[in-house]
Symmetry: C2
Subunit: 383 residues, 2 copies
């Protein structure tokens, strides 16, 4: 159902010829109103792609009429010409849609450091506009894939209003590919401030806690557009929960499609002094290459979990740390716990619980194992 | 020449039976004076192995008579019993050497979370003491190997005094194995304060800048013992430079022996606003899995370098960043520079220069590529 599940939106996905292999590579999402409220969150990387710089700027108005997305090139580290190309893309979409360029966000994904083939992209915007449809959500989701093996969509909502979305990303595993693009749409009748609040609350506990390889993209973008076409203004909590659900679902789909991964690892930190501590510890565990290799080898190597916890500034005493792997408390009080041979790691999902014994805050970070396939995919990509 | 290159030291290395495969696993280094001044630096990991806790404590006196080192077990995350075992090891060495246990440092390396076989280790200390020799440095260096393919030793000095040392570690790549142990000895006649100052200055720019996989060990230890047996008190700068040379040489040997690595990567950050900025940026580049995969694939993927720089807090403007790989400025002013096809990456050493255009500070971090062999070695180790 994707971005056209909510009323008031049309979308299209086409092959514009940006990708040399002829696969779909250009998507267009249009908000037909009556409202055009929008919010967005962007990569924290200080090296930002041209479309991120552009979209951050246009979102300052709190209004978006359309989003143009392309795969086949990230338009990052492309200098003034790259920014001109993004601007031209927005102008072209504005022209064919009859809106202002300042109401058009642009997202790009693919290799860094390469200019986009504008002679293909610009005509493609016109072609996509001609194919806009209330059933175009799936095609749009297909057109933003890079190394994704499947396209990702999700829908939630109730009582006459809907939140839908699409995502591209192979598990946050490839910022070199401008990892993650997400467009969410809703027909709920809400203003920019409400959208912004709900979107930031949702991404903080979903996409921000999906951390496959610790690398941060130059292009990450999550947009939320509201058409108001349902005529319903939901209670904030209901709406925020629906946005969180869609983000969570899409985030899980990213993890499951992570490049080269054979395991999805849920790192749950419990009894932390603060939520920030829990996130810091979870991230440190999730980024530990040695642990990620051990999980790949189905080795319940809790020593590597403790070693990762020990590098953080979180509140804890080493001799009060406990670690469970798939339900077996292999580390108790900082030392040997239950028999590690009891741990069954044959299945794709692996659940690590780190108990800091320092409070009652908790956080969950999702990551993947580190595999030879990850190395192969990422050593061969651009050549 | 190792730890017995300097006068006043004897050493031994034996197979005590701690390793099941019968390889050497116990080393003893003894300072026969006349001085027994010593200094040490230890892992910053807050989860510290029992021998680290012990050795930090005994070093507060600024005096060491001996160091006992074992491979075959890290004695980390082993609780009160693990600490008792370290204490018993120091007591045993003190007894056979006729010194105080408070003058004996202990270092352990191997798997985390496993108690040492004290029924083999303690008799081994006696056996090693009986074999102490002025020519025992090589055997001691052999006995501390874990996944090391070669033993590592180095010597420097002049004008009648010497600094020698030995190291174990497979490129900082395996904190699960309690990565790096280093013992340095000198016959220079110097006090504890001078040793401490020279050692900290040296490790800060050598071992602290060797960062193969971003993981921090529970057992890292670097000790420097001075016998004063040469009767010479060198100028501080000469001595500090000799210590730096030996540390640098041993650090390079660690990188060249890194588990699974096919490339040694020199990350040189130039024109940073401060040395701290240069180190932060260098470390961020050195820890980027995607870049490390690209180097493995001999792909001059400068976009991944910029992406890594962008995650730091260092002072820079994205459009003033320049990157050279093996001498070719593939990125200029934040965008495409010289032809990437000019970059020759066939050889083991790869040199990345990141120019921040923000000042005149510089720092160099050494790392390795990320390979399928790294994954294989670290997913299979403990099983």
């Amino acid at each position: 159902m994707s971005v056209t599940a909510a009323k008031g939106f049309t979308a299209a996905g086409i092959a514009a010829g940006i990708k040399e292999n002829g696969n779909p590579d250009l998507a267009l999402v249009v908000n037909n109103g009556p409202r055009r409220a929008a919010a967005g969150v962007f990569t924290a990387n200080r090296v930002k792609a041209a479309p991120v710089l552009w979209s951050e700027q246009v979102l300052k108005s709190g209004q978006l009429a359309a989003v143009v997305l392309n795969s086949g090139g990230a338009n990052a580290c492309t200098g003034p010409k790259g920014f001109q190309d993004t601007h031209a893309t927005a102008e072209k979409a504005a022209e064919v849609l009859g809106v202002g360029a300042g109401e058009v966000a642009v997202c790009s994904t693919g290799l860094i450091g390469v200019l986009l083939p504008m002679d293909k992209l610009l005509p493609g915007v016109g072609t996509a506009a001609a194919q806009l449809s209330e059933h175009g959500g799936e095609k749009a989701a297909l057109a933003i894939k890079t190394t994704d093996t499947v396209h990702k969509t999700s829908v939630a909502g109730k009582d006459g209003w809907t939140v839908g979305g699409m995502a591209k990303g192979a598990g946050m595993l490839a910022p070199g590919l401008a990892t993650m693009l997400v467009v969410l749409t809703t027909d709920a009748d809400l203003d920019t401030e409400t959208l912004d609040k709900a979107l930031r609350a949702a991404t903080k506990v979903t996409f921000d806690r999906v951390d496959s390889d610790g690398c941060m993209s130059t292009n990450d973008t999550v947009l939320l557009l509201a058409s108001g076409a349902s005529g319903v203004t939901p209670a904030y909590d209901d709406f925020a929960e629906a946005v969180r659900q869609v983000c969570d679902d899409l985030g899980q789909q990213l993890i499951r499609d992570a490049e080269g991964a054979s395991k999805d690892i849920k790192v749950e930190v419990v009894n932390a002094a603060t939520e920030d501590d829990a996130v810091e510890v979870g991230r440190s565990i999730a980024r530990n290459n040695l642990l990620k290799c051990a999980v790949h080898g189905e080795d319940p190597n809790w020593g590597r979990v403790l070693s990762a916890i020990g590098t953080t500034k979180a509140a804890f005493e080493p001799d009060r740390l406990n670690v469970a792997i798939n339900g077996v408390w292999v580390c108790k009080n900082g030392g040997v716990g239950e028999d590690r041979d009891k741990v069954d790691m044959r299945y794709r999902e692996v659940h690590i619980v780190a108990d800091l014994s320092a409070g009652d805050a908790t956080a969950t970070i999702w990551t993947n194992d580190l595999t030879a396939d990850y190395v192969h995919e990422n050593s061969a990509y651009s050549s």
